[in-house]
C-alpha cells in the first residue's frame, strides 16, 4: 500500500518552502512507514541511521531495499563497525517516485522524482558528481518517518558515479557507493577530520602549509615529539618522526599532510578511510571510532574482554551442571573497557530481567564495602540509582533468595538517572 501522508503531529512544518511537501512513502506490512533494517533499541542510546531513496518507482522498491542491504553489508565488513553493529538502529524509508532515475541537468535529463535529487550543474560552478536535492526539506520530511535520525543518507537511483556530503549525504548506487557511508560516519560518529592534503584539489591548493593551532580532532596534529602527539602511545619507539617509510605497510607515526593542508600538520598512518574510502580506518581512527560506537551499545553488547564476555554471556552457558547463583557482583562500569562513569548526574543501573520472578536484592557498594544504595526487584528487573564520586570504585551486588539457574545472561546497563 502506498500513501501520501501529511506528517502533522510528527513534524511541524513551518516554512512556506515545505508547505504541502507531503512525501510519498510506502507503508510496510506491519503498518509502519519505515522498516527497522538492523538493530533495535532505544533511540536515545543507539546511533540512528536513516536511509531514503530517490528515483525509485513503486516497482523498484525491492531494488532500493537491496541497495540498503549493501550499505549494511559495507558496515559489517569494515572495522570497527563490524564488531560494533550494536551501536546502530538502521531505518529504511521507502520513498516512491513517479519516474525512475534522477535529474542530469548537464544532459538535459529531468525526472519527476519525490525528493528532487539531481547531479551538479557545471554551468553554475558545480561539479557534476556532486549530487544534491533541490528540496532538502522533503528529504528531512521523509527521514522524519523513522523514529529518529542521527544521520540521513540519500541513495539516488542512478548508476553514474556521484556522491556529495554536507549535513545530508547523497550518493548514487554506482559500485563502491557504500564507502561514502563508511567515511561520512567517521565524521558524524567519531568526529574525525579529513586526512587528505588539499581542499579543492584542482592543483591550486596542493602545497598549503597549516598555520592554525593544534587541531582538536583526534587524528591530526602539529606536535612532532612522541610525548606530545595524541597517538604517541601507538607509535613504535623505533619509528622516525616525521615518518616517511611505510614498511611494512601500516606504520603508525607522523605522516605529513592532514585536514586539507600538505605541510606542517600530520596524520597517523599513510593510508586511512578518512583520506580514501577504499582504505581501512587507521589505528587512531579505529580506536576513536570504537570508543564512540561503544557509547551506543550496552556494556554487555560491547563485551570487550574475555572476562566481560564471560560475565555477560558466558556464565549461563559455561557453568558446570551444578552451578547455580546466589550472589553476583559486578564492577561498575560492568566491563573493563567501558566508558568511564559520568559524574555529573545521578546514575541508574538497570537490569531488565533478573531471571526469576522476585525476591532479588541489589545494592551498590564502594571499594571500602560501604553500601551506597539498595533496591528490591520490581517485576522481572531492578533499577538502582546512586551518585558516583570521581576517584572511587563501585560494585553492583545481587542477592538471590534461592539458588537459581539463569536461563539468560544478565545485562546490567549504566544510565543517567531517568534516561530510560
Amino acid at each position: 500500500m502506498i500513501r501520501r501522508l501529511p506528517i502533522a503531529g510528527i513534524v511541524t512544518v513551518l516554512a512556506a518552502s515545505a508547505a504541502g511537501a507531503a512525501v510519498n512513502v510506502q507503508q510496510q506490512p506491519d503498518g509502519q512507514f519505515f522498516t527497522a533494517v538492523r538493530g533495535g533499541g532505544a533511540t536515545a542510546l543507539r546511533y540512528d541511521i536513516v536511509i531514503v531513496g530517490d528515483g525509485f518507482t513503486a516497482a523498484e522498491q525491492d531494488a532500493f531495499d537491496d541497495r540498503v542491504e549493501d550499505v549494511v553489508a559495507a558496515l559489517e565488513a569494515r572495522a570497527p563497525y563490524s564488531d560494533r553493529m550494536c551501536a546502530f538502529n538502521i531505518w529504511r524509508v521507502n520513498v516512491v517516485s513517479q519516474e525512475s532515475g534522477v535529474d542530469h541537468p548537464k544532459d538535459g535529463v529531468s525526472k519527476n522524482t519525490e525528493l528532487d535529487v539531481r547531479y551538479g550543474v557545471p554551468a553554475n560552478g558545480e561539479a557534476e558528481r556532486c549530487i544534491t536535492s533541490d528540496s532538502p526539506a522533503k528529504v528531512y520530511e521523509a527521514a522524519a518517518f523513522a523514529p529518529e535520525a542521527d544521520a540521513i543518507f540519500v541513495l539516488a537511483n542512478d548508476s553514474q558515479w556521484g556522491g556529495c556530503a554536507g549535513d545530508l549525504v547523497f550518493s548514487s548506487i554506482a559500485p563502491g557507493f557504500a564507502g561514502i557511508v563508511t567515511h561520512e560516519l567517521g565524521h558524524k560518529i567519531g568526529d574525525l577530520a579529513d586526512e587528505y592534503t588539499c581542499y579543492i584539489c584542482d592543483g591550486s591548493d596542493s602545497n598549503v602549509s597549516y598555520t592554525g593551532p593544534e587541531p582538536a580532532k583526534p587524528n591530526c596534529t602539529i606536535e612532532t615529539t612522541r610525548a606530545d602527539v595524541k597517538w604517541g602511545d601507538l607509535i613504535d619507539p623505533a619509528t622516525p618522526l616525521p615518518t616517511t617509510v611505510d614498511s611494512p605497510p601500516g606504520v603508525v607515526g607522523l605522516w605529513e599532510g592532514c585536514q586539507y593542508a600538505a605541510q606542517d600538520i600530520y596524520r597517523p598512518q599513510a593510508a586511512c578511510q578518512m583520506s580514501a574510502t577504499g582504505s581501512p580506518f587507521c589505528a587512531v581512527c579505529n580506536r576513536e571510532m570504537r570508543f564512540a560506537l561503544g557509547a551506543h551499545c550496552t556494556p554487555c553488547e560491547r563485551a570487550d574482554t574475555p572476562l566481560d564476555w564471560l560475565l555477560c554471556h558466558g556464565l549461563p552457558h559455561t557453568r558446570p551442571p551444578w552451578w547455580e547463583i546466589l550472589h553476583l557482583r559486578w564492577p561498575i562500569p560492568p566491563c573493563l573497557s567501558c566508558p568511564p562513569l559520568d559524574f555529573r548526574d545521578p546514575l541508574e543501573i538497570v537490569i531488565r530481567d533478573l531471571g526469576i520472578e522476585g525476591g532479588v536484592t541489589a545494592r551498590v557498594v564502594d571499594d571500602g564495602g560501604k553500601v551506597l544504595a539498595t533496591a528490591k526487584q520490581e517485576g522481572r528487573g531492578v533499577r538502582i540509582a546512586f551518585t558516583a564520586t570521581r576517584g572511587a570504585s563501585y560494585w553492583l551486588e545481587l542477592d538471590y533468595p534461592r539458588a537459581t539457574r539463569l536461563e539468560a545472561a544478565l545485562q546490567p546497563e549504566v544510565l543517567r538517572q531517568g534516561q530510560r
Binding site: 506491519d30 509502519q32 528531512y140 581542499y199 580514501a276 517485576g379
Partner: protein, 235 residues
C-alpha cells in the same frame, strides 16, 4: 423503583468502564511512563507459548509501535512511538486478537530536533520534532568560521549553547569514483539540523557567526560573536 434501576445501571456502567481501564488478565508494563524513542516492555497473557514476532502488534494510543523483541518469559519490548504527552493506553495483539492492554503515560521528549534553513545571514525554522537525545558535541575546527547558537527558555534564561560547522562556509565533500575525495564550495543556501534541549514552554534559538578557533567558553569569545538571526521553538 425506576430511579433505583437507573442508578444501578449507571453504577454498573462506571464499574465496567473502570474495569476496561485496568490491566487485564495480568498484563503489566515497565516502565509505566516513557518518552518517544525510549523502550518499554509489556507482558500480556498468551506469550507463554511460541509466538512469531510478526504476529505481535503493539499500539500506543492507537499508534503502531516498533516491536524490538518478543520473549516468552520477559514480554514484548517495543519502541515508544511519537505521541502526544499524557495518559494513554498500550494494547497488544497476538495474531490479530487483543491479548491485553495497560495504562501508559507518554512523557515529553527531552530534546527537539530542528530542521533549519540558512540563506545569507538569516536562519529560518523549517520543521521541528521531539528527539530522544542530543548530538555529540563537535570539536572545534580551525577551518573557517562556525555557526554558534544559544538556546534561551521562555524567560530568556540561557539553557544551552554550542557551535556547528558553518552551513554556508563549512566543509562540503565530493567523492571521486576511485575512493578519493575533496572539498567543494558550499552552497548559497543550506538546510541543516540541530538538536537542542527542549526548553519547557518554548524558547528562542539565537544564531551567531564565530571566528575560526574562537574559545566560546570565555566571555570574550562569546562577546566576539556576531549575531545573525533567531528562531522561536516550541516546548
Amino acid at each position: 423503583m425506576g430511579r433505583h434501576l437507573w442508578i444501578l445501571g449507571a453504577g454498573l456502567l462506571v464499574l465496567a468502564a473502570a474495569a476496561a481501564c485496568r490491566p487485564r488478565g495480568g498484563s503489566e508494563i515497565a516502565p509505566a511512563e516513557a518518552a518517544p524513542g525510549a523502550t518499554a516492555v509489556v507482558r500480556v497473557p498468551g506469550l507463554e507459548g511460541p509466538v512469531q514476532p510478526g504476529a505481535v502488534e503493539v499500539t500506543v494510543g492507537g499508534r503502531v509501535a516498533t516491536v524490538l523483541r518478543v520473549q516468552a518469559s520477559a514480554g514484548v519490548e517495543f519502541l515508544v512511538p511519537e505521541h502526544e504527552v499524557g495518559e494513554t493506553e498500550v494494547a497488544v495483539r497476538l495474531g490479530g486478537r487483543l491479548a491485553g492492554r495497560v495504562p501508559f503515560r507518554v512523557l515529553p521528549s527531552p530534546a527537539r530536533q530542528l530542521v533549519l534553513s540558512m540563506t545569507g545571514e538569516r536562519v529560518t525554522l523549517v520543521a521541528s520534532r521531539g528527539a530522544a537525545g542530543l548530538d555529540r558535541p563537535s570539536r572545534e575546527t580551525p577551518v573557517g568560521p562556525g555557526l554558534a547558537y544559544d538556546v534561551l527558555d521562555a524567560r530568556g534564561r540561557l539553557v544551552a549553547t554550542g557551535i556547528l560547522p558553518h552551513p554556508l562556509r563549512g566543509r562540503r565533500e565530493l567523492f571521486e569514483p576511485e575512493g578519493r575525495m575533496h572539498g567543494v564550495a558550499a552552497p548559497a543556501a543550506a538546510t541543516f539540523t540541530l538538536r537542542i534541549p527542549a526548553p519547557p514552554g518554548g524558547g528562542v534559538v539565537r544564531f551567531y557567526e564565530s571566528a575560526p578557533g574562537a574559545d566560546l567558553a570565555t566571555e570574550a569569545g562569546r562577546a566576539a560573536r556576531k549575531f545573525l538571526s533567531e528562531v522561536k521553538v516550541g516546548g
